[in-house]
């Protein structure tokens, strides 16, 4: 019944993402879209690092790539990643938004418009407020929203901002997020 999962994270989210990707069944039925901030000087090697432990393929997509289930799409460094109608990725080099490129808000809000109530949005640990607006957009379009428990986050600014801006469906620990995603398989 869902069509995609989108995950946003920043400082302190790397290990959480790694654990999530590691725990997904190789037959995970949905695409996983990853909009993660990274340090400016660590532009390459990130996708490889995530791939090592992931049970599904992790791809840094090309512009206009078709989104397919069972694959993880990582927003390339220094690009915004949008989701277009027709289930395609679109990239952009517009100005950073809130000092961020990729901007989680942009990825989330374009995904919300495309997948509407069939989208799951997850915000993880991070040190700024990017993502809060995007998560609200997912909620506005009827999607399901999840925030990592701030108590568990290495940096909780991002999750707390998200909780403040909209009524989030679930606040979960990493383990609970994993269990939730594992149960999505039918």
């Amino acid at each position: 019944m869902y069509k995609a999962v989108i995950i946003g994270g920043s400082a302190g989210s790397f290990q959480v993402i790694t654990r999530i990707l590691n725990s997904l069944p190789p037959t995970f039925p949905l695409p996983v879209l990853l909009s993660l901030h990274r340090l400016k000087h660590v532009r390459s090697g990130f996708v490889e690092a995530l791939s090592i432990k992931s049970s599904i393929p992790v791809i840094e997509p090309y512009d206009k790539d078709q989104i397919k289930p069972g694959k993880a799409y990582l927003a390339p460094a220094n690009y915004h990643m949008f989701i277009e109608l027709g289930n395609r990725i679109a990239l952009s080099t517009e100005e950073p938004v809130n000092h961020s490129r990729p901007s989680i808000d942009l990825s989330f809000s374009t995904a919300a418009q495309v997948y509407r109530e069939k989208l799951i949005g997850i915000i993880l640990s991070g040190a700024n407020k990017d993502g809060a607006y995007g998560l609200k957009k997912i909620k506005d379009f009827g999607g399901l929203t999840i925030v990592q428990d701030p108590e568990e986050c290495q940096v909780k600014t991002m999750t707390e901002a998200s909780l403040k801006l909209s009524k989030v469906d679930h606040v979960l620990s990493t383990q609970e997020i994993i269990r939730f995603l594992q149960n999505l398989k039918q």
Binding site: K40, E60, P61, D63, K64, E84, A90, S92, E94, E95
Partner: protein, 279 residues
């Protein structure tokens, strides 16, 4: 304010009817977002914007400029510049002339990066540099070659990675001083490209959608990075055709890190990493 796709179509149609700009085949998502931003920035709704476009040519020009600004930086994606240095430019080393076109050059950082690299490789004298963009404001900035220093502090880092270090041999280190190519003024917060670089390129306002080749030259190398991401599939194909026609055989088209040729034109190029070589 939420912009619907009907709003967007109405806006595109108005622009097409009232100006020389045709955004019909631009990618929807980025246009939608930029349209939204324009409405907020100018405090207009869709009917207000459309009326303004109909009545005020200067305003329309301004709107198109807002829509077509893209960011760039010196030596964006150092790994691409490593490839230029080690695998692409050496192919043209013995040419009497090297024609290079930066299509969609924005504020010009890529143009100057290329010239700096060519100069370090002893190839700048033989190079003819052409650069174009749809947006005359960014083109003006490109000609000036003056950039914010603090905002672009990563420039120096990229310069070190591409010009000072040799990725194929980490023991090699060329201590090329920044002052050879630009002046840094920390008080005014500017990086200014030296005159011997800014005087050389030929800059032209150019619309990839309909202007063809304005330079009356064929090219050894065309760089068009992070431009076609704003175009739809059919417009991309038209642009690939334009580039293919105007490249010499064995000439090279270089796209952005995450751009690729899909469709019929892919077969007419041989792929070498990020680079497409005309068959």
């Amino acid at each position: 304010m939420n912009v619907t796709s009907q709003d967007l179509q109405y806006f595109i149609l108005t622009l097409k009817n009232c100006t020389k700009y045709d955004l019909t085949e631009y990618s929807d998502k980025s246009l939608m977002r930029r349209l939204q931003k324009i409405l907020v920035d100018f405090n207009l709704d869709i009917p207000g914007l459309v009326a303004a476009i109909r009545n005020d040519a200067d305003f329309s020009e301004k709107i198109v400029k807002e829509i077509t600004v893209n960011t760039t930086e010196l030596f964006r994606d150092p790994q691409v510049w490593h490839m230029l240095r080690s695998r692409i430019l050496p192919r043209f080393k013995n040419n009497k002339t090297i024609n290079i076109w930066h299509a969609g050059c924005s504020t010009g950082q890529e143009v100057y990066s290329m010239m700096i690299l060519l100069n370090e490789m002893g190839m700048l004298e033989n190079a003819k540099i052409f650069a174009s963009d749809l947006n005359s404001d960014v083109l003006e900035q490109a000609k000036q070659g003056v950039y914010k220093y603090r905002f672009n502090i990563g420039y120096l880092d990229n310069f070190d990675k591409v010009i000072k270090q040799n990725p194929l041999n980490y023991e090699e280190f060329n201590d090329v001083p920044y002052e050879k190519y630009f002046d840094i003024d920390k008080v005014r917060d500017t990086i200014t490209i030296k005159k011997h670089l800014t005087e050389k390129p030929i800059f032209r306002k150019h619309d990839l959608v309909k202007d063809g080749n304005l330079f009356f030259a064929k090219f050894d190398l065309i760089l068009c990075r992070n431009v076609i991401i704003y175009f739809n599939y059919s417009l991309q194909n038209k642009v690939f055709e334009l580039f293919h026609t105007n490249l010499y055989t064995k000439g090279i088209l270089l796209l952005g890190m995450h751009e690729t040729i899909l469709g019929p034109w892919a077969a007419k190029f041989e792929k070498m990493g990020q680079a497409y070589i005309k068959k």
